[in-house]
């Protein structure tokens, strides 16, 4: 069961007193996100932007009603923060942190999936329900409330594409960053299932990149009828060379697998048009929705 956010979601920020945590707490509050508490071990009793800080998640839970968590804790300590959020029953848990070891992610994701909790990330810009709740680090200015759902493995590329979708007047419903790591809590299929049932979403954009086979599996899922709304895709990394990591830990072609070509072919075979340039995504959407 995948769970995202809306205007009612009450949020905890873990790692709230760090540079990033502080900065984005301010921006999320400005957006209207209902941040009710923060946690940084050893900093209990302080406050950030008027938000009370606790030493432990348990203490924050005692004093507030909280639904979801967003984590800005440095990589070596982030897994413990995830377990703390899981123990407290928070859902979803957004893990912004970049650079978490794959084995750590493997373990907390396994635990979360077993208990039916949604983990977004790691190494994600987060999730935004446009106009209601921003649980992430994305710049608010590129989004406008509308009908297109966005699922992406990348941050700035999502903003680039969302900006075009907003400016041609379609706008976005919910945008989800899966994360740039090899293993993430959610994949395209998990989110496609959610968008299929989301009445506010009329079409979906998949923004993929080289590495792994998540796009190919999503294409198969769409081809088999698992997702029936219009979909458009963009895949980054046509020029990438095998064996080199392109910035994201997960963006690497290993052997013959994970190339842009294989992803583009799979999506097109499933009837999903793939844009050549970021700008063309919005145009393709407009054609499909007109």
């Amino acid at each position: 069961m995948v769970r995202f956010v809306d205007g009612e979601t009450r949020v905890l920020v873990q790692g709230i007193t760090g540079r990033q945590g502080r900065f984005h707490t301010k921006l999320m509050l400005e957006y209207g996100t209902r941040i009710v508490a923060g946690v940084t071990p050893g900093k209990g009793g302080e406050s950030v932007e008027g938000v009370p800080v606790y030493d432990t998640v348990a203490e924050a839970m005692d004093r507030h009603r909280i639904d979801a968590s967003i984590i800005f804790v440095p990589a070596p300590y982030a897994p413990d923060a995830v377990y703390e959020a899981l123990d407290a029953g928070l859902d979803p848990i957004v893990v912004i942190t970049e650079g978490i070891a794959v084995r750590d992610t493997m373990m907390f994701v396994a635990k979360a999936r077993r208990s039916g909790v949604t983990i977004i990330g790691p190494n994600t810009p987060g999730v935004i329900k446009v106009g209601e709740c921003k649980l992430g680090i994305m710049p608010a200015s590129v989004f406008k409330r509308g009908r297109v759902g966005v699922i992406s493995r990348s941050g700035t590329l999502t903003y680039e594409i969302a900006d075009h979708i907003s400016s041609i007047g379609l706008g976005e419903s919910t945008c989800v960053g899966l994360g740039g790591d090899p293993i993430t809590g959610l994949d395209f299929i998990d989110v496609l299932k959610w968008f299929e049932d989301d009445p506010e979403t009329e079409a979906v954009v998949l923004i993929g990149e080289i590495g792994g086979d998540a796009e190919e599996r999503a294409a198969e899922f769409i081809a088999e009828g698992g997702f029936t709304k219009p979909a458009v895709a963009y895949i980054a990394g046509r020029t990438a060379i095998p064996g080199k990591r392109m910035g994201h830990a997960g963006a690497i072609i290993q052997g013959e697998r994970g190339t842009a070509k294989s992803k583009i072919e799979a999506l097109e075979a499933a009837g999903v048009p793939v844009a050549e340039k970021p700008r063309d995504v919005a145009k393709l959407l407009k054609e499909l929705l007109s």
Binding site: A75, G99, I100, A101, V102, R103, D104, M106, M107, V109, A110, K111, R113, R114, I137, P139, S141, R153, S154, G155, T156, L157, T158, Y159, E160, D163, G180, P182, I183, D187, I207, E209, I210, G211, G212, D213, A214, R217, Y234, A236, G237, R238, T239, A240, I241, G243, K244, R245, M246, G247, H248, A249, A251, G255, R257, A260, E276, K277, P278, R279
Partner: protein, 380 residues
């Protein structure tokens, strides 16, 4: 991070995985001494961080210490698959009856380690997967559990092992899995796992460690020396020293972007318009002017780079900081190359004003900017 064979084997040895006798040599004389200690035929193997070295002549055999001296001399300093050989591993030559394969890899779709085994050892696993996928036995290991010996026995039985050899291979697989977990392996392989009259032996060893877990393995970096472990070009090494996220490509248009996805899309778009990117360089989020200056200077001083395309979508990255960095780099390096800047987002106006004053024009659209930079170099 990909370890060399001899480094991986040192770690395999600590886990009790059976290995041929041998040591690494940097000179032909050392190779001869090791061959003397082994006192029998030896294999002399080039230590390079790329696969397929056997076919490329990177593995040679020698009957005597003198011959080992000779072939080591031929391999050392030569280039195998484009990589200079700085060390050779000198090992007892095995008499191999059969070659098998055991591996443990991070499987992205099942979000877990997967153990792999096949009777078709000695060739790359990708090749087996393409040719006869039914011969690869796979088993996903629950991250919250462990690899139980009975499941390892079930696996190796599928690849045709019986009796003591089955027990021995299962034991090796359990050890390999424990090694994968404890060493944060992205991938670890024994290929081939040699069936010899003296039992099973890891004739080759591969271990790629997750870069994000290196903080847990500082001792390893000290032991083997970080620079030797990194499969990077000269320029990539320099970029790494400067703290840049950089990948070298073979074109002539230098590219800088913010965010991995956007930077990759920038490369793709440039290529779509017929340009050839010289690199991938991701500034990351919130780059201050100093980091931008380092990045731009790095490309200005690269003689391969004939024009530069900077593509910024400012969220937490501020356009005015980027502009200041670009201008500072031009002043510092004193080389002027054609530059196309696309910059939108946070503090866009201030950034543009600074650049216009320095004579650099800014564009709104990355597609237009890509087209522009390609046309600047057009005609040859």
């Amino acid at each position: 991070m990909r370890l060399l064979e001899w480094q991986a084997k040192e770690i395999f040895r600590e886990y009790g995985i059976p290995l041929p006798r041998g040591r690494v040599a940097k000179t032909p004389e050392e190779a001869r001494n090791i061959a003397e200690e082994i006192s029998g035929p030896v294999a002399v193997k080039a230590q390079i961080p790329v696969g397929g070295r056997g076919k490329a002549g990177g593995i040679r055999f020698a009957e005597t210490p003198e011959e080992a001296w000779k072939v080591a001399g031929e391999l050392l300093g030569s280039f195998v698959r484009g990589v200079e050989v700085k060390m050779v591993l000198v090992e007892e030559k095995l008499s191999i009856e059969r070659e098998l394969y055991l591996g443990v890899v991070v499987d992205r779709s099942s979000r877990a380690y997967t153990a792999l085994a096949t009777s078709e050892g000695g060739v790359e696993i990708e090749e087996v997967a393409a040719r006869s996928p039914e011969k690869i036995i796979r088993m996903t290991i629950d991250p919250l559990e462990e690899l139980r010996p009975h499941r390892a026995r079930w696996m190796v039985k599928q690849i045709g092992l019986e009796g003591r050899r089955m027990l021995s291979a299962a034991d090796i697989l359990v050890k390999l899995y424990r090694l994968a977990v404890e060493m944060d392996a992205e991938l670890t392989e024994i290929n081939p796992l040699a069936v010899t009259p003296d039992g099973l032996m890891a004739a080759d060893a591969r271990l790629n460690i997750d870069d994000n877990a290196l903080w847990r393995h500082r001792d390893l970096l000290e032991r083997f020396g970080e620079s030797e472990l990194l499969d990077l070009t000269e320029r990539e090494r320099e970029a790494r020293r400067l703290g840049l996220t950089y990948v070298e490509l073979d074109g002539e248009i230098g590219i800088i972007g913010n965010g991995a996805g956007l930077t990759m899309a920038t490369l793709d778009t440039v290529q779509l318009y017929g340009g050839r990117p010289a690199n991938f360089l991701d500034l990351g989020g919130g780059a201050p002017a100093e980091r931008v200056e380092v990045a731009v200077s790095f490309l200005l001083s690269d003689p391969r780079v004939r024009a530069i395309f900077i593509n910024i979508l400012g969220g937490i990255t501020r356009c005015d900081e980027v502009a200041r960095g670009i201008i500072a780099a031009r002043e510092r390096i004193g080389v002027d190359k054609p530059m196309v800047v696309r910059m939108i987002g946070t503090r866009e106006e201030e950034g543009r004003r600074l650049l216009e004053e320095a004579g650099i024009h800014c564009l709104d659209s990355m597609e237009e900017a890509a087209e522009r930079v390609v046309s600047l170099l057009g005609g040859d």
